[in-house]
Every structure is written in C-alpha cells, then in structure tokens.
C-alpha cells in the first residue's frame, strides 16, 4: 500500500479538524477491516490516515428510557452481545452477530459498517473500468453481476448496498449524529443517510468529506423487529439479500401498525419497501399476508443479466423477517 502520514486524535473535534473538503487524500480509520483492504488493492491511496481508535467518546453505549445511543466506534461484537440491545433491537444485533467472523466483529465498528465502501468486484479491481474510480462506464452492467443490484432503474452504477446494520436501523427509525467543521452538529435520519454514487466524488453515504458520524440514536418504541439474511456462506461474507422489519403490535393476531420493511443488498442504497409496508399495515401477520408483502416488495425490480434469482430471494426474506418479528414459528428451521 502507498505510505501515509498517520494521526491519532483523542477528540472528535480534533479528528474533524484533520479532514479535508474533498474525498481521497484523507481517510478515516476505525477497525480498518475495509480501509486496509482498499489500500492494499490501491483503490484507496490516502496520503493521510486519521485514526478514530483513540477517541474514548466514540466507544459508549447508553441505554435510556426514550432512546439508545451507540457510539460510532463501538465494535460489532459489543453490539451483537449487548443484552439490552438484543432485547430491544434484534434486527440490529442479529445482523451484527452475522457479520464476518469473530475477528471482524472484534475489529469492525458501527460507524465503519455504515460508511464502508461497496463490494463490487469491478470497483475493487484497479484494472477494471468503474464509474466510481473515474472510468467512463460501469463494468457490472454488461459484466459479471450476479451479486449486484436488482432495483436498477435510473442507476448508472449498480452496486449492492453493503451495510447490514443500516437495514435494521432504518426500520427502527434511527438517526445518525454527525459532526462537521466549526463544531457543526447535525442529525440525519438513517433512511436519508445513504447515497447512490455515480462518480469518484461520491460516497455511498451523504456525509461531506469533512464530517464524521459520531454515533447512532435509536428510539425505544417497543417495536417488534427482526432481520433476515439470505447467504451463500454462513460466515466471512456479505449476504446476498437482507431484509429488516419493524412494527408495533403484530403478534398473537393483533394488527401490525407503523410497518417498516427495509431491503438491503438489492439496490445501491438500502430501500424502504413502501408497497410491502402497505400490504401489512393494519393487518394481523399471517402466512398469506407475509407472502403478499414479499410480492409487493419486488414490484419494480429490474434485475441484471445474472441476478434475476435475487427477486425470489427478496420475496422469501421479507416473508421470513415478518415471520420472526411476529413471533411465528420459523417454518424453515428443521
């Protein structure tokens, strides 16, 4: 990898003061599980690396009556194993526990999971044309695209959103706390956090190059929630399709309200499946309703040449995520 100057600030303000107004020359380092691989492949070639691991304020989990705050530097293992988080937000903790293996979960962080770069093999191969690296075309649209987006309308770059924590966080109505220069703080709904990138000056999120995520706030509303992943490998990989759901009620024949069904790894950003939400809203969750929600979720899908199979996987994942959150038997587990 290209050599760089390394900084290890101890406060978030110091970290922000080290950032620049453009992408590329200065990169943030937390667990390093994404950045170091990108550097070794010469996809990221920063001249400066700002480590966030010396900032104690990013490491806290605060469980309150109204909301839960998780610092951006909290590791995936701590999220997966936290008893209160497991009780309140299984959509988040089950996803955290399914990431990588123990080593990745001990290293990777919440902030890094939300801000990780996409997994497109053309993006990660320095020799392939790629819009996000300044190329004039997307290699995936005509190339090997079995793991790419199936919701492709109006997208010139067809990456699949990589974060598995975002999905549950969006369903739960979480917000990201962001710090910029001059101590400027803002709060972004996780639902508005992500961006479909089209060029080298874009990232997969909406942060400015000189902003950092300091943490995530999840409201405590007693929602039933769950996430379900369809995987090719049980560990050390990203899912092919992931669905998270959250709703009030919806158990023991009670109607589900405030239904949020979120899909990931099927479009350049996580997407809220409005049609599926409507299929479930104000209804008791039955097998038939869960199937209808799955069918509604894939309306508008435009798969690529090799990934039509993902449409069916989304239908099934929606059905299973609803089944788990409704407390119904997991019929697929023998």
């Amino acid at each position: 990898m290209k050599n760089f100057t390394y900084y290890r600030p101890t406060t978030t303000e110091q970290a922000v003061s080290l950032l620049e107004g453009r992408w590329g020359n200065t990169e943030l380092l937390a667990g390093g599980t994404d950045l170091l691989a990108l550097q070794k492949n010469y996809i990221a070639q920063p001249g400066r690396v700002v480590s966030l691991t010396g900032i104690a304020g990013l490491q806290t989990i605060v469980v309150g009556q109204q909301n839960v705050q998780i610092g951006a530097g909290v590791t995936l293992a701590r999220i997966a194993d936290h008893p209160d988080l497991r009780r309140l937000f299984p959509a988040l903790t089950s996803a955290a526990g399914d990431i990588g293996g123990p080593q990745i979960r001990n290293m990777g962080t919440l902030g890094g999971n939300l801000c990780q770069r996409n997994r497109c093999w053309y993006f990660r191969d320095e020799h392939s044309p790629c819009l996000l690296r300044g190329g004039n075309r997307c290699s995936a649209i005509e190339g090997e695209n079995k793991y790419h987006a199936i919701f492709t309308a109006n997208h010139r770059c067809v990456i699949a959103s990589p974060s598995t924590l975002a999905t549950g966080l969006i369903a739960l109505g979480a917000t990201a706390e962001v710090l910029g220069p001059q101590n400027r703080r803002r709060t972004i709904q996780l639902a508005n956090f992500f961006n479909a990138p089209t060029g080298p000056n874009d990232r997969e999120h909406n942060l400015a190059p000189n902003e950092i995520v300091t943490g995530v706030t999840i409201p405590v509303r007693g929602l039933n929630n769950a996430a379900y992943e369809v995987r090719q490998k049980q560990s050390s990989d990203w899912p092919i399709v992931q669905v998270a759901v959250a709703f009030a009620g919806g158990r023991n024949g009670e109607k589900a309200t405030g239904v949020k069904i979120v899909l990931s790894h099927v479009a350049p950003t996580p997407i809220i499946a409005d049609g599926a939400n409507r299929a479930v809203e104000n209804r008791a969750i039955t097998d038939a309703i869960a199937v209808a929600a799955g069918q509604a979720a894939v309306a508008g899908a435009k798969p690529l040449s090799q990934n039509g199979y993902k449409v069916r996987l989304v239908e099934v994942a929606v059905k299973r995520a609803l089944t788990i959150a409704a407390g119904l038997p997991r019929y697929w587990e023998v």
Binding site: M1, K2, N3, F4, T5, Y6, Y7, R8, P9, T11, E13, Q14, S17, L18, L29, G32, T33, L36, A37, Q39, K40, V49, S51, T53, A77, G100, G101, P102, Q103, I104, N106, M107, Q182, N183, Q234, S235, S236
Partner: protein
C-alpha cells in the same frame, strides 16, 4: 526439517531480514524528526501529532515480552510481527482479513493481524500461537489438534488454535457449537474440519455423535 541444524556461515534469510529492518530503523531518523516537529494541523483545540510517513517507534507486548519496533505507518501488525520481530506463528495468507491464518489475540480478543496497522497496536498485549507452549508443554488446545490429527499442511493451524484458545478463555465450558462459532473467521483449504471437530469434542469432553 530444522533450520537450526543446518551449519550456516552465510546470513540466513531471517538474519538478513532483521538486518534490513535495523537498517530501515536507522534511516527512520527522518521519520522520527517528523514526530518531534510541531504539528501542522492546529485548528481549534490541541495539536494532533503527525506520525510518519517515515519510520515510527511502536511499543507493545508480544507473548508477555515487551518489544519495540520502528515501522512506517503502513506496516501491518502481521508484517511487524513476522518481518521485524521474528514472531512467525501468525501467517500471511490472504492478507485481506478473510482467511484467519494471521489470527492473534489482542487484550484477549481475536483479530486479524494483517488488517491492523502496527501503530494501532501501541501499548497492547498481543498473543500469538507461540504463547501456547510453555516448558515444552503444549497447551491443551494445540495438543488436541495433535491428538486428532487436525492438520494437513498446517499453515492455517496457528490461526485456528489461537481462535479456539480464545473461545475457551472466554468461556470455560463452551458447547462444541460455540467453539465452532469462534472459528467462523478461519479457513482450512486442506479441509481438516472433521478432525478439528474431533478435537473440539475432545476438548469439550463430549462424544461425537454420528
């Protein structure tokens, strides 16, 4: 094959690497000078020291022994251990945080040494497979591997035994399934998983049911 039995008047590859590392260290005065220079990045609040891009001194503990090494910021913990400190139990295989051959424990938790910068290990307690033998007595985890013949080429084994040891240190009575979960981040391309399962069941004092 034992390197030490070979009469050797030429510098061995390893000695050469150590010598080269020392040479790099002596040229790193330039890098260290950067450390002492006033930090340029002073905007609102205390200055943050610029480290590198030349060599910087990092100190941590490896298998109970305090060590210091001078490395560029881009050097991974794995390369610092293997190429600068001659701690070669941890292996470099995928070098992308996937295969687990470089697994070490930091402050009791397993991590991929290939995916952590050496500068990030400043002050940490690192344990490698070398810590699993004392007075020629194998720890019970690698001993179970030996008894179950749970290796073929053996290249992944140091990573596997460290990952498995971490499970038993975190949980005195894990189930075989819990031990296997602790090995999710390691790959054996020879496919010795069945023998490893035998080792796991032996360590959990359980009979493997068929």
């Amino acid at each position: 094959m034992n390197e030490q039995e070979t009469p050797n008047t030429e510098p061995s590859r390893r000695e050469f690497v150590i010598a080269a590392g020392t040479a790099a260290a002596s040229t790193s005065v330039l890098g260290l000078a950067v450390l002492d220079a006033p930090a340029a990045e002073v905007q609102g609040g205390a200055a943050v020291r610029a480290v590198g891009p030349g060599g910087v001194q990092v100190a941590f503990t490896v298998n109970g022994q305090k060590v210091q090494v001078t490395v560029e910021p881009r050097v991974t913990l794995l390369d610092a251990l293997r190429n600068y400190l001659d701690v070669t139990g941890c292996k470099r295989v995928c070098d992308r945080g996937t295969c687990g051959a470089c697994t070490v424990m930091i402050d009791g938790k397993v991590i991929y040494a290939c995916t952590m910068l050496a500068v990030e290990a400043q002050g940490k307690q690192i344990r490698t497979a070398e810590s699993l033998i004392a007075n020629e007595q194998l720890d019970r985890v690698p001993a179970a591997f030996v008894n179950a013949d749970a290796q073929q080429c053996g290249f992944c084994t140091p990573g596997f035994v460290v990952a498995m040891k971490a499970v038993f240190e975190g949980n005195a009575n894990p189930t075989p399934a819990q031990v296997e979960k602790g090995l999710q981040g390691n790959i054996c391309r020879c496919g010795t998983y069945e023998q490893m399962r035998d080792a796991i069941y032996a360590l959990c004092n359980q009979k493997r049911g068929k």
